[in-house]
């Protein structure tokens, strides 16, 4: 914190910059954060513009199978003559949707469970946290696999299955925050003024849990994309011919020698996406977590 003050004096500011503007400034100075954000914007743009910047990801052209990259097929073609670029770009939309929906669902469940456990007293706390413990003990991929097998193998069930193994982290995070915040003066003050419990939770506790949740969420979007791709790879997620990245690697792995681009392109897609969210998560933690600041 000392460093910030020195800089303010040096810049000769008349008024203190707001917390938000300082946070944004700190983020802008964080190289990994900028790279992560730039990558993410690129990927989202690719996903949104996929119908415009590429052709049909399902159109087969057997005569032109396993073609190497050319001006016509930017990333070559796969074993059915499908355009790899079109499939990778459409896959970005699928993977990002999976990642965001899994984390959204997990945060909603985790916040409800965590807030309830952290505020309704010991009995609820014990019951809910023991349930959370059980979900923690599950080997995540095995649980996701069982759920996907039980519900039927499609993308929406993949999202449910991965969310089922992701939410417990948020329940623990939010509960820990709620327990700590409950004892703070501003919450006591609100209680003394006669504020109702739901309102305290909603207005005073919840907003203060967002920082750790946001950092965790950033890492988890990447994690969810990896898990979902793994599920699809072993046949429990998206099914061919869906251009899901994990399923694409699985479909084209036998041709890795003749046409390495067909399996590598979707794999690199996964890597870049996960990398973007990890970089972003690192940067958010550095910027938002007070203990991480020098």
């Amino acid at each position: 914190m000392g460093e910030v003050k020195v800089q303010e004096g040096w810049e000769g500011r008349a008024s203190r910059p707001t917390l938000r503007s300082r946070t944004i400034r700190r983020f802008r100075r964080n190289a990994s954060g900028i790279i992560g954000l730039a990558l993410l914007i690129l990927l989202v743009a690719m996903a949104v513009l996929s119908p415009v910047i590429s052709g049909d990801p399902l159109a087969q052209d057997i005569l032109n199978k396993l073609q190497s990259p050319s001006s016509q097929h930017f990333l070559g073609t796969d074993q059915l003559g499908r355009d790899v670029w079109a499939r990778v770009v459409h896959g970005a939309a699928i993977s990002l949707r999976i990642g965001f929906l899994v984390v959204l669902l997990s945060v909603v469940i985790g916040v409800i469970v965590g807030l309830t456990a952290g505020s309704l007293g010991r009995v609820w706390d014990n019951v809910l946290m023991r349930i959370t413990d059980i979900f923690f003990a599950f080997p995540s991929l095995i649980l996701a696999m069982a759920i996907a097998a039980a519900l039927g193998r499609d993308l929406n069930n993949t999202i449910l299955a991965v969310a089922a193994v992701t939410w417990p982290v948020y329940a623990r995070l939010v509960r820990a925050q709620a327990l700590a915040l409950r004892e703070r003066e501003f919450v006591e003050a609100a209680r003394a003024l006669g504020t109702s419990t739901p309102r305290i939770l909603w207005r005073h506790i919840l907003p203060n849990t967002w920082t750790p949740v946001l950092v965790q969420a950033s890492f988890d979007v990447g994690g969810a994309i990896l898990t979902a791709a793994g599920l699809s790879f072993i046949g429990f997620g998206a099914q061919p011919p869906t251009p899901e990245w994990g399923a694409m690697v699985s479909e084209t792995r036998d041709y890795i020698r003749e046409a390495p681009w067909a399996a590598s392109a979707p794999a690199i897609g996964i890597m870049l996406t996960v990398l973007a969210f990890n970089l972003l998560g690192d940067a958010l933690r550095d910027v938002l977590d007070p203990r991480g600041r020098d």
Partner: protein, 335 residues
């Protein structure tokens, strides 16, 4: 101390029960029919009825659960719908291969991850640090299955340096099964050639499975070392003229070990889970591959057996880590 241990052991049992209950619950929402999955869609009605009756699938759900729990308490995990063998026998057959692979992967990640992290911390913001950080970032983002395919193609297919999938060259005599761990069994059989071959088979899957953990471990170790190196007692150690080696080994490493230890515990758990993909690609006969095939054929007794085993291992590892924590850090006491 003892009351703490008893409480924790109760918790282990609770987690084990919870995991089977959750799996049982999932098995009940199955829209698909395990009987049809096992017999095929063209099965005759009598066959399906007979199958359901044989495995107790025709009884009401609560009764099915009561029967399962009753058997479980006597150590009987039920019968696999797919292999028609007791699940316990299947687990006994496949678990040693997973233990072998997971421990080897853990060893790989410790052997490379910790030195890499220490090196990066000691050379902060210089070339070694940047290389380690870049590799750690990439390692954390690479899908296990792609790494496996890539390395298999490169080291086995192109260069022929390492053997392909499997645990032992088919031309070699498989040693009699004693432990189920191939590297140990070949040693027990005093078959040097087979031992070397089994080690060579283990190398690639262990590295693939351990890669993500290696990356995480390097990052964690680096962070913990940097934190410790900035502490006053390290400055004191330096100022009293201790060699850099002494500072790092005696003062810094010991204190940086704590946060790293916690990670290692959770790593073992995630290795078991990650083994699903690695075992499938490397045709490794462990419980990861077993549970994948079982889940695909809706063989829930088998899936429940594996989740129970994995849940138990997870809870016990956590307990062990907490106890080790207290052993290393005298400030921690459990009561």
């Amino acid at each position: 101390m003892w009351s703490y241990l008893v409480r924790r052991l109760f918790f282990v049992i609770f987690v084990a029960w919870g995991v089977t209950f959750a799996t049982f619950f999932i098995a009940q929402v199955v829209p698909a029919d395990p009987a049809l999955a096992a017999l095929g869609d063209n099965a005759r009605e009598e066959q399906v009825q007979e199958f359901r009756h044989r495995y107790g699938l025709d009884k009401p759900k609560p009764v099915q659960y009561a029967i399962y729990m009753n058997r479980l308490l006597r150590g009987d995990l039920g019968q696999s719908l797919r292999t028609s063998r007791p699940v316990a026998d299947d687990l006994k057959e496949f678990f040693p291969a997973t233990i072998e692979l997971s421990l080897a992967a853990l060893l790989v990640s410790l052997l490379f991850g910790i030195p890499a992290g220490v090196l990066a911390a000691l050379r902060q913001n210089r070339a070694p640090d940047l290389v380690v950080r870049l590799l750690a970032l990439l390692g954390g983002a690479t899908p296990v299955f792609f790494l496996a395919i890539l390395l298999l193609e490169l080291l086995h297919g192109k260069l022929g340096l390492l053997p392909g999938p499997g645990r032992l060259d088919p031309y070699l005599l498989t040693p009699p099964r004693v432990t189920g761990v191939m590297t140990l069994d070949t040693l027990i059989a005093r078959d040097g050639k087979a031992f070397v071959d089994s080690l060579r088979h283990l190398l690639l899957p262990a590295f693939v499975l351990g890669a993500a953990s290696l990356a995480l471990l390097a990052r964690m170790t680096r962070g913990a070392m940097l934190e410790v190196l900035s502490q006053d007692y390290v400055r004191t150690a330096r100022s009293k003229g201790l060699s850099e080696r002494g500072v790092v080994l005696r003062h810094a490493a010991k204190n940086a070990a704590l946060p790293v230890l916690t990670v290692i515990g959770s790593l073992l758990g995630s290795l078991l889970s990650g083994a699903v993909l690695t075992e499938t690609i490397f045709s490794w006969p462990g419980i990861g591959r077993y549970v994948t095939v079982s889940a695909a054929s809706l063989d829930f007794p088998a899936v429940m057996g594996v989740t129970l085993l994995a849940g138990l291992v997870y809870a016990l590892i956590n307990l062990a880590v907490d106890l080790l924590y207290a052993a290393i850090d005298p400030r921690i006491r459990y009561g």
